[in-house]
């Protein structure tokens, strides 16, 4: 089983998808000769040609809008939005068009478009390059949203997103692009269903739900908690729409305590949705209120202070302390 970085795993997923189906094509800014600003598409234009790996004009609404048109002609376009904060020019196309076409055509039309968005902070970047806008899209019916936390998932989520008949947004945790791990290119194994959450660490006393870039942070927090004698389970959500509430609920029923962590601002974030659902499904199992750890209600801060904004091990441990205080 090869070991590769998360970025390379996505690259391999895109290459294999292009090779498997001639209707698959990529479109985005600088994805051709440069291979994308994060080199995720490196080598693909040389291998598959400019008709299938398209350096688009610098226009996000155009990338998504033309991808919709291509999908109506039978293609399976994969659009790259260069950075999270630049998706908003395409927000109209994604929410009013892409998400709704299947429904408004009563199922006659499918728009199997994949949109890749590098997201999240922690890399010391400039304004608009560190955001986590996933809740805005999870709120929109008609879209599916995936976010890998490790190279194996990154490969298979890329493949699954492209094969899915629904539009899928893949939020790629950019600060984990260089995270290495084994990738089974032959078989997805337990990743066969991209919409299932994974219990990535078993525990008995509390559950941390995290996704994307915060999964390694949650695992490290659980490790630190273990040193204090607390057995903490970690759930990698993997899919943000749909959310696998069965796995989350089962974990909470076992542990009785839940901390949800994401980089996105807490207010109106997915943590609130998870807290509400868990309180409905597992109210009598809860030993404490669901505690959320996330960004503050402010624009993403300048990078010199992003360490105080982003949930880290200590903030998750502090949240666990609060949960255990009940």
């Amino acid at each position: 089983m090869p070991t590769m970085t998360l970025a390379k795993a996505i690259n391999a997923g895109l290459r294999d998808a292009l090779a498997a189906d001639e209707m698959v094509m990529l479109m985005g800014e600088d994805i051709g000769a440069l291979g994308g600003v994060y080199r995720v598409t490196e080598g693909l234009k040389a291998e598959f040609g400019e008709d299938r790996v398209v350096d688009s004009p610098l226009a996000e609404s155009g990338i998504v809008g033309t991808s919709i048109g291509l999908s109506l002609r039978g293609y399976r376009p994969v659009g790259e939005i260069q950075f999270d904060g630049f998706v908003f020019p395409a927000f109209n196309q994604i929410t009013t068009q892409l998400a709704k076409l299947h429904a408004r055509s009563r199922g006659q039309l499918t728009v199997p478009v994949t949109i890749r968005i590098p997201y999240g902070g922690g890399i010391g970047s400039v304004e608009h390059h560190s955001e986590s806008p996933e809740a805005l899209f999870a709120h929109t019916a008609g879209l599916r949203i995936l976010t890998p936390s490790n190279p194996h998932d990154a490969y298979w989520m890329t493949r699954h997103a492209i094969e899915c008949e629904d539009p899928v947004i893949v939020f790629e945790p950019k600060r984990r692009y260089w995270l290495k791990g084994e990738v089974d290119l032959e078989s997805p194994g337990t990743s066969a269903d991209p919409f299932r959450a994974h219990v990535v660490r078993e525990g008995a006393d509390a559950t941390i739900v995290a996704y994307g870039p915060l999964v390694p942070v949650a695992l490290a927090a659980a490790e630190a908690a273990a040193e204090d004698g607390r057995s903490v389970e970690v759930v990698d959500l993997r899919s943000l729409s749909p959310i696998d509430f069965d796995t989350v609920t089962a974990s909470v029923q076992k542990t009785g305590r839940l901390v949800v962590a994401h980089e996105a601002p807490t207010f109106g974030g997915l943590g609130g949705e998870i807290a509400a659902r868990v309180s409905e499904r597992a109210f009598l199992s809860l030993e404490a209120p669901v505690i959320r750890v996330g960004g503050f209600h402010m624009p993403y801060p300048v990078s010199k202070v992003e360490g105080q904004y982003l949930p880290d091990i200590d903030r998750i441990l502090e949240a666990l302390d609060r949960a255990f205080a009940y």
Binding site: L72, N92, T96, L101, S105
Partner: protein
Amino acid sequence: MAGDLPTTEFDDIPEELLYELEALAHERTEGHVNMVQLLDEEGRFLNRSHFAERASALSVDELRALYRDMAMIRRFDAEATALQRQGQLSLWVPVRGQEAAQIGSGRATLPQDYIFPTYREHGVALTRGVELGELLRQFRGVSNGGWDPRQNNFHLYTLVLAAQVPHAVGYAMGLQRDASRAAAAGRAAPDPAAVVAYFGDGASSEGDIHESMVFAASFKAPVVFFCQNNQWAISVPTQVQSRIPLHNRAKGYGFPGLRVDGNDVLAVHAVTEWALERARSGKGPVLIEAYTYRQGAHTTADDPTKYRLTAEEESWLAKDPITRFEKFLRAEGHADEAFFAEVAAEGEALAAKSRRDVLAFEAPSLAAEMQNVYAERHPLVDEELAWHLEYQAGFADADTDSVEGGH
């Protein structure tokens, strides 16, 4: 003259047409609009344009069919307006005045072409063979679409202004790839096809129009941008959208643009046919600005008396596309009283059928709508659907009124 145009992009255009296009680009006298026109307001044929020979090539049957289509859509439009006034439709978007722009352009398309309409292209829908009653479903509140877009290559109406235009360009990029894939695989080339993207003078200000034109130009996509400038974006005149004639914008993107008299069905047909042939042969996009007038309200919820003068409306009535074409057909001896009577009777039948269709529409179940949100199973939808069905089932023993109240 031609030096003003990036001629290397337009090598395929004959010199006399290039001259005509360039002449069209300049407003010479106040109040005079330069545009391709083959019929004057009295319906007299003008043989002064490069496009005249295309109109001359139409058979009498084809000419009569153009009239018939325009008359049909006007009658249908009147019926739909009446249905709204009678409370049978929640809203209607009248097309009166724009029949020539829509029938002329729609009849220039081939079956393999694909059309992306706005929400007012009732005339184009007719030319594509869409059952007109289906257009009314949206306005009756029983569907957000109504017809199968794949059957007639006529996409669903799009209500978000200009949002369908990048779809059109993407579809055209798909056509290009179909051709190159066929060539690579040694398969027979598909019939050359093109896409028509409809939008209006108001939508021309939307960013999606700009992005679409950039993509289309850069990739030489086989798409015709068909802008119906009906002078008013609800209450805002075209001058607020553009300080230059809209078709002149094409030059900035590097493809030809021209203005046609949108109330002259022969001119619209000829110009669109030319643009489509050009697009199908791989020479890239064209912007057509059809200069026309929305004789009625923007929608049945609008009140044009608040923002425009009766004198303006009357001046445009004198340019009415159907009256003008009727004069032409009569003067040329292409149609007699019997023909017009026959068309009128056919219009009445269409109106009656459309009314029957509307009254017979059944509302879908919310449950069925929920099941169409995703193409593949989605657990949240399944869960909410199950809850909804169970909740509704709780009313099973109640009387009919309370079941309806539960929706």
